[in-house]
């Protein structure tokens, strides 16, 4: 099974150096009110062939993807046309997952700003309002705290809402409801009320979106007891996680990334979900464990190409489940490689990487040959200027250097 990471033409891979020609990036993003979707821009084409997870109860049903090696264009074309499944972009995969769940269970509904008639500012809910009606795909006024709370009240009384934050950062306004009600009501009610809500939205550092639209809320939410957090990174796991989150009885926060919506992949036609608590093995290896999630996965895979050419064999794991951590997959990897590098987009202080470092040290200290290295974003509000923004987040070159240091 080959996983192919391939940059396509002028719409260069999102993980390249700053001078990349992002011709597709002509759309202007103005905060909150209007947004032109990045139609047709293919940042990168990733084809992975996870098998269909038919054994929904099994934890290890998803097969491993081996060897991140760049191949030529010919082999890609040849392989894609003969394989089953269908190709789509990540936002379409999310939409497909959402639509399938809405068909499957009439209690599933969507609430958020511009999710209905507008189709979602990132088109995840495109056409759904036409299909399911304005009450099931509810356009809310701009009142995050209240409509998130409304989603929670609806969840308590029998519905299964999916609340969209137009940008994850806006959910800071809903922190009251997410922390106090979403996370805690099942407990303070003594287990009487379940809150099967999914809160989702795009976050992370985009292309010069400015500080407030570039936030990483996973680090703020991670301490809230009673919630689960997952981050999707490929169309395959986006659809799978969306479906699993909707079906889960727990409140789940699904983190998407602004820059990953146009990833293309071939995914199975059959119904499948991705286990919410499991990590995903992206590339097995021997020398070092690289733990990452969301957009940084692509920076890591870009660095992996360089590392492989230099003779290293990194094991790359997309942790996917930000809360709780899949300590089994992570632990097995640590026990094999004895070296850990964490690459994340959160800030250095108090991020997912910080928690992960603590968890690994606590559980697997004996297996480590070197201190854990955690590459995070700078503790800086994301600057607007492209050059500054670029150095705020972790770049592939830094990852390569870090691995070289770690493996000395």
């Amino acid at each position: 099974m080959a996983a192919i990471f391939h940059g396509v033409g002028a719409a260069a891979s999102l993980s390249l150096s700053p001078s990349n020609s992002f011709d597709s990036n002509k759309s202007v993003f103005s905060p909150r009110r209007s947004f032109s979707a990045r139609k047709g821009a293919s940042f990168a084409v990733v084809r992975s062939e996870g098998t269909v997870n038919l054994n929904l109860k099994g934890r290890r049903a998803q097969q491993l993807i081996s060897n991140a090696v760049a191949t030529t264009a010919d082999s890609i074309d040849a392989s894609s046309s003969s394989k089953p499944g269908h190709e789509l972009l990540l936002f379409e995969a999310l939409q497909e997952g959402l639509e399938e769940e809405m068909e499957r269970d009439p209690r599933v509904c969507v609430m958020g700003e511009d999710v209905g008639h507008y189709g979602g500012s990132y088109k995840v809910t495109k056409e759904l309002a036409k299909k399911f009606g304005d009450l099931r795909v509810l356009d809310t006024p701009i009142a995050e705290n209240s409509f998130t709370g409304m989603g929670i009240g609806a969840a308590m009384t029998g519905l299964r809402p999916v609340v969209e934050g137009m940008n994850m950062g806006f959910l800071l306004l809903a922190f009251n409801q997410i922390s106090n009600n979403c996370g805690m009501l099942h407990y303070t009610s003594g287990g009487q009320f379940t809150i099967p809500i999914v809160i989702r939205g795009p976050g992370g550092v985009g292309r010069q979106l400015g500080a407030e639209h570039s936030q990483r809320l996973e680090s703020y939410f991670q301490s809230i007891p009673g919630i689960q957090m997952v981050a999707c990174s490929t169309p395959y796991n986006a659809k799978g996680l969306m479906k699993a989150a909707i079906r889960s009885e727990n409140p789940v926060i699904l983190f998407e990334h602004v820059l990953l919506y146009n990833l293309k992949e071939r995914i199975p036609d059959e119904d499948y979900i991705c286990n919410l608590e499991e990590a995903e093995m992206v590339r097995p290896g021997e020398h070092v464990t690289i733990l990452t999630y969301s957009r940084m996965r692509y920076h890591v895979m870009q660095a992996a190409k360089t590392l492989v050419n230099k003779g290293y064999d990194p094991e790359v794991i997309d942790i996917r489940s930000l809360k709780p951590f899949d300590l089994y997959t992570i632990g097995n990897s640590v026990k094999k490689t004895h070296r850990v590098l964490i690459v994340e987009e959160c800030m250095r202080t108090g991020g997912i990487g910080a928690s992960l470092t603590a968890a690994i040290t606590e559980n697997f200290n004996d297996y480590l040959d070197a201190p854990i290295v955690c590459l995070s974003s700078q503790d800086v509000p994301t600057p607007y200027a492209g050059t500054l923004e670029e150095v705020t987040v972790v770049q592939p070159a830094q990852i390569v250097t870090a691995v070289e240091q770690l493996c000395k």
């Binding site: 009450l135 009384t157 099942h186 003594g190 287990g191 009320f193 009673g226 689960q228």
Partner: protein, 428 residues
């Protein structure tokens, strides 16, 4: 700008009267009956409001408390059964709260305990009109809402004592009363955060009717909150959404004039809260919250309106808490004269007087109810005393509905499969 000043002697309970501050609004209304007949309230033109999107009336009404001679027509607002039911519910609320105070000072319950003495008319007046499937959302001052909704006194008292037989297994406490069976959706510690939850419950009711096609679903939600909350963003945001989607909800403001030590008049630019309803497109009604029959009349209309699918109503109940904000509040700021004036309007005494004067029941029957309630409350305390405290094993049980949410441990098994999980000692 001030409220109609509370009169020294309370008004007879059987003569609700309609008067408004704003003549342009209700000049076309005849003096009676109050709010009961919506036909009279349909104002086709109102210069003050932009009604282009709605045909219904949007009114702000203040019901002044007026002295009127009691006409001896048998024009009573309640039957004997209803009267006794209301009386019993209010006495239960009062006796229970008094017992809470005793128990608190004896060290049986801790933390923040907020008592409802004096406000019983609001809880009884509204909640006794509801069906079991209707929902109630409250604040931290929620003991009496729970009792009115039907949660057994035993369950509430045990919860306050932190015992495992409490309605929330001892995990919620005074400020977090929940009951799935009785559709009591909490119990919230932060003011205002229950209002969106109530809006969500009302949304579910509408969704069930319109999307899931449960044609007979007409469940109504009541959201109770105080005057302080009416300056909070969540209040306004929910008024907007409820009116926008015509959700079956009634917003009940228990305006007791004080938010801990902050007088409503010192914190609010326009203290007449009922006027904020029409600003969002729903009727706003002001009612004497010390008078259970007046509250009940207003509640009937507001709840019926919601059930018919006509949308929300904002009801401001002028009421008063006889005790401090909580049992830890020294209550030094409130004027003793003000307290005395409201004490004379004690809702229980008023109802008792009404029942006896109108020969609905005898003094003996009411005393029998008093005694019965005393026994109920004593029994609740006994039950709570004898109940076990939660064992350690309960610690991790209700954090997640699906305990797989604790994740996969280093050994490959889910944490919840660890035998120590059920003992409450697992490492999660």
């Amino acid at each position: 700008m001030a409220f109609s000043a509370p009169t020294a002697n309370f008004t007879p309970l059987n003569t609700p009267f309609l008067r408004s501050h704003d003549n342009t609004l209700v000049s076309s209304l005849s003096p009676s009956p109050f709010f009961g007949s919506t036909a009279k309230l349909r104002l086709s033109s109102s210069p003050n409001f932009n009604l282009h999107r709605r045909s219904g009336s949007v009114v702000a009404v203040s019901e002044a408390v007026k002295e009127k001679k009691f006409k001896s027509t048998r024009n009573l607002l309640i039957t004997k059964e209803e009267g006794l039911e209301l009386y019993e519910d209010m006495v239960l609320g009062r006796a229970f709260e008094d017992m809470c105070a005793q128990m608190y000072y004896r060290g049986k319950m801790f933390g923040f305990v907020h008592l409802y003495n004096g406000q019983e008319a609001v809880s009884t007046g509204f909640i006794k009109l509801l069906k079991l499937q209707d929902s109630v959302v409250s604040t931290y001052r929620d003991h009496v809402h729970a009792l009115s909704k039907g949660v057994p006194a035993r369950a509430v008292m045990s919860e306050l004592f932190g015992k495992t037989t409490g309605c929330c297994r001892g995990q919620g406490g005074s400020m977090h009363m929940f009951s799935r069976e009785h559709n009591l959706l909490g119990g919230f510690a932060f003011i205002g955060e229950g209002i969106p939850v109530a809006t969500g419950a009302a949304f579910t009711s509408k969704y069930k009717r319109e999307v899931l096609k449960e044609a007979d679903c007409d469940h109504v939600t009541l959201a109770f909150f105080g005057d302080g909350t009416c300056n909070n963003g969540q209040f306004f945001e929910c008024l907007n959404m409820a009116a926008l989607w015509k959700l079956p909800i009634v917003f009940v403001v228990e305006n007791n004039l004080w938010a801990i030590g902050m007088s409503h008049l010192r914190s609010t630019s326009d203290p007449q809260i009922y006027k904020k309803g029409p600003a969002f497109g729903m009727p706003g009604v002001h009612v004497d919250g010390m008078d259970v029959l007046k509250v009940r009349e207003v509640a009937k209309d507001a709840i019926a309106r919601a059930r018919r699918g006509e949308g929300p109503t904002l009801v401001e109940c002028e009421t008063y808490r006889f005790r401090g904000h909580s049992l830890a509040d020294p209550d030094e700021l409130r004027d003793p004269d003000e307290k005395a004036r409201y004490a004379m309007r004690d809702p229980i005494a008023a109802l008792k007087k009404y029942i006896i004067e109108n020969n609905l029941a005898s003094e003996a029957e009411l005393k029998a109810i008093d005694k019965k309630i005393d026994e109920v409350v004593e029994d609740a305390v006994e039950f709570a005393d004898e109940s076990p405290v939660p064992p350690r094993s309960q610690l991790l049980e209700n954090v997640f509905a699906d305990p797989k949410g604790f994740g996969i441990g280093p050994d490959g098994r889910y944490r919840c499969e660890d035998p120590k999980f059920t003992q409450g000692t697992a490492h999660v």
